[in-house]
Assembly symmetry: C2
Homo-oligomer: 370 residues x 2
Amino acid sequence: MENTNNVFNLDRNMKVHNFNAGPSVLPNEVLYKASKALIDFEGTGMSILEIGHRTEHFTAVMEEARSLVRSLMQLEDDFEVLFLHGGASTQFMQVPMNLLESGETASYVDTGVWSNKGIKEAKLFGYVDVSGSSKDNNYNFIPKQFTVPPQARYLHITTNNTIYGTQWSSIPETEVPLVADMSSDILSRQMDFNKFSLIYAGVQKNMGAAGATMVAVRKSILGKVTRKIPTILDYRLHIENGSMLNTPPVFSVYISMLTLRWLRDQGGVAAIEKINNKKAALLYDEIDHNPLFRANVPNKEDRSKMNVTFTIDKAELEEEFLKFCKKEDIVGIKGHRLAGGYRASLYNALPLESVEVMVEAMKYFSLKKA
Amino acid sequence: MENTNNVFNLDRNMKVHNFNAGPSVLPNEVLYKASKALIDFEGTGMSILEIGHRTEHFTAVMEEARSLVRSLMQLEDDFEVLFLHGGASTQFMQVPMNLLESGETASYVDTGVWSNKGIKEAKLFGYVDVSGSSKDNNYNFIPKQFTVPPQARYLHITTNNTIYGTQWSSIPETEVPLVADMSSDILSRQMDFNKFSLIYAGVQKNMGAAGATMVAVRKSILGKVTRKIPTILDYRLHIENGSMLNTPPVFSVYISMLTLRWLRDQGGVAAIEKINNKKAALLYDEIDHNPLFRANVPNKEDRSKMNVTFTIDKAELEEEFLKFCKKEDIVGIKGHRLAGGYRASLYNALPLESVEVMVEAMKYFSLKKA
């Protein structure tokens, strides 16, 4: 007899507590279902990896993934949803290539490493006005007072900053089209996504596994630059071809579809936001009250609910705490080298229980060292 | 007790005979191993999709995949092997962007749809000399008499043409750097790969699953164009970063590594070539001798051993034969709309047994209709 939920007799409750910054934890049921589809996809006698991407089997997967994004984000009809190759790093250049006319200006807010990568690529296509920046404070806040040049073709923001642990708590008001890299907080909280003109996200944090990039773009902002765009980088051609301009990253799109289904079944963005708020509150509360730890981001409003960054007050204990966590099966909490200390990523699929274990570990370690 | 070879109690011998043109059939052991790694990757307690790509767990996968390509192709030291996002369609523009100086010329041989896509993108960056073409004969042969302009920056060929079923049986001699799209016959036959300067291949036919593209490039041909190349499209930066410039398509690279290991364990390219020759001979022999069928490519030397294209002499039986095959669990043999008729793809992982079944089906159908 086949146990569809636990085909390898692996007790997933004994799994590690995975605080990886991305690629990162995925829902168990997504992994079980995908594991089975790798051997036999829906009774076809073929693996999901072996089916033609132009067959009804896969086009149904692609269409469901696109449609789930549309409904979970409640996007207006002007939006098209694409699943592309290349990661957010490809979008850094694809966005200005499609939107920024040569000789014109785009406005960027610099909130860290990822914003900077976007700025660097945009400069290859036009002028960049860095309208706001938190660089002088090692990016530990979100700039709020900044002026977007009225002639800017668009304003680009990074809604969540994985390395420094900051997050835009509200969407900036602007007259120009708003473009956002949402790689690390997409679908984690309610937001009026229709205030944006283009949203992109590498799917490997909140909506799948590495290998695909989701782009939601308003058709009305396309076709306004005069340069010749290579076929594979032209959003319009991807739209015309139903996100199947070339062989898509089949398996990554399938994992996204399963992850989006899971999110829908949890109650969608509103429901997951409640859990995400609870997880973040639990961990920040411990950091703020535990004498041994300190949050990197002083302004509570700017703290990321996805990537909680913090340090230990006694430098000599930094490594020891990591080792202690490892023993407790807590993985992925070493901070990025640019921010130091620790980083606990609390993406949608991370269970509340993992945060509870983490908080217990902090309490225990702190008492032991007091 | 766990049965590591057949975790879903699925009899893989009862699987369909998968002649898909790509994505296509994969070795059973690759699928079993990957299915397990989706739940727990090598005892980490995490799925292969959940591990950080900069951890030793994944860097070992990437390095083994790169190293297996190098050894299976016996590449000289000047070559670097990369696993990139984007598919061969991205290479169509990335190759000229990196190699073709503005105002200069690249030479392309036009052997069908895929060559043409390459030509179209190259024209965005410089001049294209279509040095040879089989267009006037609906691409049913490989051009052999053509002259490459001596000033050409490179000569580009498509070694195997999936749609029309042609394949270069020998590498053209040329004084300029040779570039090849080998998406549909990479690692299927012995060849002096060191005669090339750049080889690219979407991995979803002979070396993995959709979502990654292998590029083997000689370092010595890079850095010779003056244009500014976007970061993510610059081969040099991918090389500097060990093919980890951004988050790689983790799972696709893993599947490639497993598929390359499988190929090595079969005896490598020399051994698989023998089996591929046998499969192709068996099927072409049936087509040439069965009164009902006719090969698309008259010149035997130009016939693809990967994609066998043929038609049925009685047009009224075309659909019926497809239905008959479907009943026999033979899938994926409908020809591309541009070539018509049938196409049977015989990639590395297709068992000889599937070709035997196909040939039996042709014999039976032909007798029944005689």
